[in-house]
Symmetry: C2
Subunit: 331 residues, 2 copies
């Protein structure tokens, strides 16, 4: 029994006699033998590894995506390299190049690079982009534009007329989409959209815009993501502005946290786990017909909780609640 038979037993079992096969398997079992995938990759060109590059592992938006992608990859006997760019476009590029040789493809989540750079990199290694749409590249996006529209319609329906948008970081496709959709949705007589940003997509980013929001006189805010929304609520709280009594806040993402804060956050739910799975599937399907540059657009939905309220029950906007209309008794 010789080495190539062993190889066939693992990579093309049907080519080997049933009996020999089981003999090989028995030996392997006993010796704890497993084919070395790196060596195999050297000749087959397939590493069975996937790179997953995210902007910030600790941002609660990503872990569900990473978890789902990892599970899906493993279902197809692939493993996942995870890397964190710290929201830095330079690191991002370097990371793709560094991983290129040891993976079959890279999942680029919420990239901050330029389109042209991404296109260039996609010539060096198969790329699937998540949360961004680039002509000619396979992508998985979540329909945040629709989500932003729903959020704005919700706020308008509640009577709000002056609405603020706390935009996301520079280079974020998602932020641009939200901005575009928000402008469209708010457009109308007597309505106004105030845009602040760019902001860091974090709690601190939200804290930092509280001041501008207060001054803007907006009675409602759509934030780039839940983390910012939560920071913003904190910031407004310390300024004596109550949510939702004085101002309504809507987030985006529906991270686990948003069900647990007080008030519970009204938000646009994005299907992050589904996105992770879809991205992996897309990458693994790359080989089958590589010219098809698919685009998967996942639906979002508005989850109404406690951080939004009708304008009528509110004070006169983001100014501290010392106006006549706010003569409430403590309850």
């Amino acid at each position: 029994m010789h080495i190539s038979t062993v190889s066939r037993t693992f990579s093309a079992p049907h080519l080997v006699n049933v009996e020999t096969r089981s003999r090989v398997l028995a030996c392997a079992e006993q010796l704890g033998y497993r084919p070395n995938r790196a060596a195999r990759a050297l000749i087959t060109g397939r590493t069975c590894n996937i790179g997953l590059i995210v902007a910030d592992i600790a941002n609660p938006f990503f872990p569900p995506l990473i978890k789902a992608a990892e599970a899906q990859a493993r279902r197809h006997d692939n493993h996942i390299f995870v890397a964190d760019t710290n929201e830095d476009a330079i690191v991002e590029e370097e990371l793709v190049r560094a991983l290129a040789k040891q993976v079959d493809g890279v999942l680029l989540c919420s990239p901050r690079m330029s389109n042209s750079l991404i296109e260039q990199l996609s010539r060096e290694v198969p790329l699937v982009v998540v949360n961004r749409q680039i002509t000619g590249l396979p992508a998985v996006v979540m329909d945040v534009a629709q989500g932003a529209r729903l959020a704005m319609e919700h706020l308008i329906g509640l009577g709000h007329r002056r609405i603020a948008l706390a935009a996301g970081p520079r280079g974020s496709w998602t932020s641009k989409e939200i901005r575009r959709a928000a402008m469209l949705a708010v457009r109308g007589p007597g309505r106004e959209l105030v845009i602040t940003g760019p902001n860091a997509p974090t709690e601190n980013g939200g804290l930092a815009v509280a001041d501008q929001i207060q001054k803007s006189g907006a009675t409602a805010v759509l934030a780039y993501n839940d983390l910012m929304a939560i920071g913003l609520i904190e910031g407004l709280h310390t300024r004596g502005i109550r949510v939702p009594q004085d101002i309504s806040i809507v987030g985006i993402d529906d991270i686990t946290l948003s069900r647990l804060t007080r008030p519970k956050l009204t938000t646009v739910a994005t299907p992050t786990a589904a996105a992770g799975r879809a991205a992996v599937d897309m990458l693994l399907a790359y080989g089958d017909d590589r010219r098809t540059t698919a685009l998967i657009n996942l639906q979002t939905e508005l989850v109404i909780r406690d951080s939004t309220a009708p304008l009528s029950s509110q004070g006169s906007g983001a100014a501290p609640a010392v106006t006549p209309s706010t003569t409430e008794t403590p309850s």
Copy 2:
């Protein structure tokens, strides 16, 4: 200029003429050439990859650890495979074996396997264990025993006498440590420790014990982690029991979330990022002298926030607050 010179330029630059070296580097730059690390690993035996196995990526305890480990690994030009066991010991074993050949070592975070299995696996691939102490194996642990003691002393200092412990999952070393320390700390005249569990280390796990906690008559609870503590607060809330007025709750971990819930959670802060870094350093130092099985024990500290209060200001324990002593006026 020949192939081995190119190789040397990258792996032993000092052995090649300065001029030739820069010529090689220039060419490489122009062609976008990078040494294939898988091929290199085949001969050197070093993959420059590290496996990181966690119980649940989506559990907010892990992302800061993963992020720190990834950053530290990259600082040493290593990459990280991340895998998720879903709290399943079987998956855990399979994962270690599957990764063994393509990494220089594996970081096993909060493993649920038996000690003997872990010892066996450590003979197949260098292992560093996080959040668990196994004689003879390099480990990074956080001193949760000390943390649990601090938490209990805090509660006792507040006048609590009947204290509950909401234990963690079966197989968790951390849970055992906490239990041991809690029993020691609570021991004393007129004091009693009520233990419930094992429980899932999640919000749902906390929700699920709310009932037992209520019936236990405890006036304070130490939970296995913040997630459980938060779930427990929710569960108690729906039963009309207020935290901290009716019952005090302490969590463990100090995840980001615990600063953002209402009430803000009193908790034991565990240095997860430091643990991630330390574990990577330990693994990379493995080669230097492999017999040294170090143990790093990181300090924890108590962070007092709003979920704990003196017994005197509380109702008569976990029973609904309809006792005479709770005749408070709304404020």
